[in-house]
């Protein structure tokens, strides 16, 4: 018997039981849509965070995160290691910024002016200045664009040259705003949100907020990106109290995390597929019972066991393919309009070819497995008993 004839017979069977078939198709559509959207949202998050990590790290960057603090000698040692171009120490402190009536909790970072351009991702710091000048000396500070301007009321919050109060836990000081930094989209290098942070000269910062002159983090820029792993090992040997990792490591770790998240999301939405499988099992079991005499006739005509089994599997396959096809169209449509609001943007599900393949093959496999038992029962029916079935 030709394959096309199996499917033609199967399609006739599906048409005959319209009610149950439509029910099964709707179930498959819902399951496919739920699974695809769950995986698509996971994929969108993965893509967004990968992009963030890439922006924050860069292939030639190594992060050194101490369990306590890094000292100046740690920075000097790392600077002298082979393949290290330079080391950017970073130190920060949460403070309350007061500018007239405006008050906001912010992070103030102590950094050398020559390294701030690196944090801002520009060649020349002038390029990162929205307004004012990049002079980072003494009590001069640079503030992020989001601190200086209220986009809702369209009013200026901080002016160039304005004196502001930085109120720390132990110390309060007055600083002068010399420049407004342009906001970049999303967190930048070292996950510093430059649009909402304050930057000051590192020596001033130490004097005001960190008298032990220790650092919270160091960013190591290497000369040869092909030797990043080797450089990490060397840094680990010299700075054993710190976690040392690169973009590759971060991506790997994040990938493992996201895989777990996606497996979880897939498993939760996969319950729908399981229920659909049960529905198909139920439908096909009833189908076999209702068509017992027909199976007897087929056996009398010379149908073999495997041919009868395949007829029922083909029927499940026809229902599933219709459901998957409709589901795929619905998914591709919904992916354009639904999303989760985050970081001021709408994260839309990212339906990759792999997700489409997965949501196509999984219901097919599930429903074939669900049909195996009833199909096998049909194939095993005694022909004469089947013919006499009332």
């Amino acid at each position: 018997m030709k394959l096309v004839d199996y499917f033609s017979l199967a399609f006739d069977g599906v048409k005959e039981r319209k009610g149950r078939s439509i029910g099964a198709v709707i179930g498959i559509v819902i399951a496919v849509v739920a699974l695809a959207l769950a995986l698509g949202i996971g994929e969108a998050f993965r893509a967004m965070f990968y992009e963030t990590l890439r922006r924050a790290f860069g292939p030639d960057i190594i992060y050194v995160m101490p369990t306590e603090h890094l000292t100046e000698s740690d920075i000097l040692i790392m600077s002298s290691l082979p393949n290290v171009e330079h080391v950017i120490p970073i130190v920060g402190q949460g403070v309350l910024l007061k500018a007239g009536t405006f008050e906001r909790s912010v992070m103030v970072y102590g950094i050398r002016a020559e390294y701030l351009k690196f944090i801002m991702g520009v060649e020349d710091l002038e390029e990162a200045i929205e307004e004012g000048s990049p002079d980072l000396v003494g009590l001069n500070i640079l503030v992020g664009e989001y601190l200086s301007y209220n986009y809702l009321t369209k009013t200026k919050l901080i002016e160039i040259g304005q004196q502001v109060i930085l109120q720390g836990v132990d110390r309060t000081t007055i600083a002068v705003v010399t420049g407004i930094l342009k906001a970049s989209s999303g967190p930048g290098v070292a996950f510093i949100n430059t649009g909402s942070s304050v930057f000051m000269d590192i020596d001033t910062f130490f004097r005001l907020f960190r008298r032990d002159m220790t650092y919270d983090l160091a960013i190591v820029k290497v000369k040869d990106v092909n030797r990043v792993e080797e450089t990490i090992e060397i840094i680990k040997a010299y700075v054993p109290q710190a976690e040392v990792f690169s973009l590759k490591f971060a991506l790997e770790q994040f990938g493992i995390f996201m895989n777990s998240v996606q497996i979880f999301l897939g498993a939760v939405s996969g319950i729908g597929l399981f229920i659909t499988g049960l529905w198909i099992f139920d439908t096909m079991t009833i189908n076999v019972v209702q068509r017992t005499r027909e199976i007897g006739v087929m056996k009398a005509l010379g149908f073999k066991k495997r041919q009868i089994m395949f007829l029922f599997l083909a029927e499940a396959l026809v229902i599933t393919i219709i459901g998957v096809a409709i589901g795929a169209v619905v998914v591709l449509g919904l992916a354009q309009v639904v999303g989760i609001p985050m970081f001021g943007a709408l994260i839309k599900p990212k339906i990759t070819p792999f997700i489409l393949l997965l949501v196509t093959l999984t219901p097919i496999a599930t429903n074939i497995v669900a049909t195996l038992a009833p199909a096998y029962r049909a194939a095993k029916l005694d022909p004469v008993e089947a013919l006499r079935y009332e």
Partner: protein, 242 residues
């Protein structure tokens, strides 16, 4: 005339829990090629069981069944299915047409199983329907046909693969008298003109006159085989139940 069906000492025992039901007891029957034979007997005498044993739908507990000289009792299920498809056509009392299919599609089904193209299957199915006088009803579903017409479609389905043997189980048991006679005329034509061997189970002695011989079963045994000249005796024996 050579024999096309040879049933040798066939016994069929059904186990019902602890009890055993002997449906056939050492039955032997030889059917000649191109013969039209009836199997008669009261209900429960084993007529249908014998028919299905000949057709390979029931495996005998012991004994042999040769079709065209081939022992079908030793074949595995797949071989037996193939053999049945190639050599035997079944006609059932309840027609057993597939309700969702038109008459044409029902008749095409065995040809589809054979792997014929749609066009060729359609051509041959229409020929078979023409032979039973129903080509004008080809696109009707079984529910749109009378009992007699449904049975003629079932006969068309049985003959469309040009089998050597037709096994008919009470083919007129569910139709009116006029349709029954039409069906018997059709069987006679198939037997005489196409040379199809027909084994027909019936309890209607009026139909036996179409057959050259009649084997009478009683309690799972063939008690006597009657020739056409002995049908009056058959009727008497059936009435007396001996």
């Amino acid at each position: 005339m050579s024999s096309i069906i040879n049933v040798v000492n066939v016994t069929k025992v059904y186990k019902m829990g602890e009890a055993e039901v002997w449906a056939l007891k050492e039955v032997s029957l030889e059917v000649a090629d191109r013969e039209f034979i009836a199997i008669v007997g009261p209900s429960g005498s084993g007529k249908s069981t014998l028919l299905y044993v000949i057709g390979g739908l029931i495996r005998p507990t012991s004994g042999k069944v040769y079709i065209n000289g081939v022992d079908i009792t030793t074949m595995n299920d797949d071989k037996l299915s193939e053999f049945r498809h190639e050599n035997i056509g079944f006609v059932f009392q309840m027609y057993h047409l597939i309700p969702r299919m038109t008459a044409l599609k029902n008749v095409m089904l065995p040809l589809k199983l054979r792997g014929l193209s749609g066009r060729e299957a359609r051509r041959r199915a229409l020929e078979a329907l023409k032979l039973v006088g129903l080509e004008h009803r080809a696109n009707h579903r079984p529910t749109q046909l009378s009992g007699g017409e449904q049975q003629r479609v079932a006969i068309a389905r049985a003959i469309v693969t040009e089998p050597k043997i037709i096994l008919a189980d009470e083919p007129t048991g569910n139709v009116d008298r006029k349709s029954a006679l039409q069906i018997m005329d059709l069987f006679t034509r198939l037997n005489r003109e196409l040379g199809v061997t027909i084994v027909m189970v019936t309890h209607n002695l009026e139909l036996v006159r179409y057959c050259r011989r009649a084997a009478r079963l009683l309690d799972g045994r063939i008690v006597r085989i009657y020739t056409s000249s002995e049908y009056r005796k058959l009727a008497e024996d059936m009435t007396r139940g001996v």
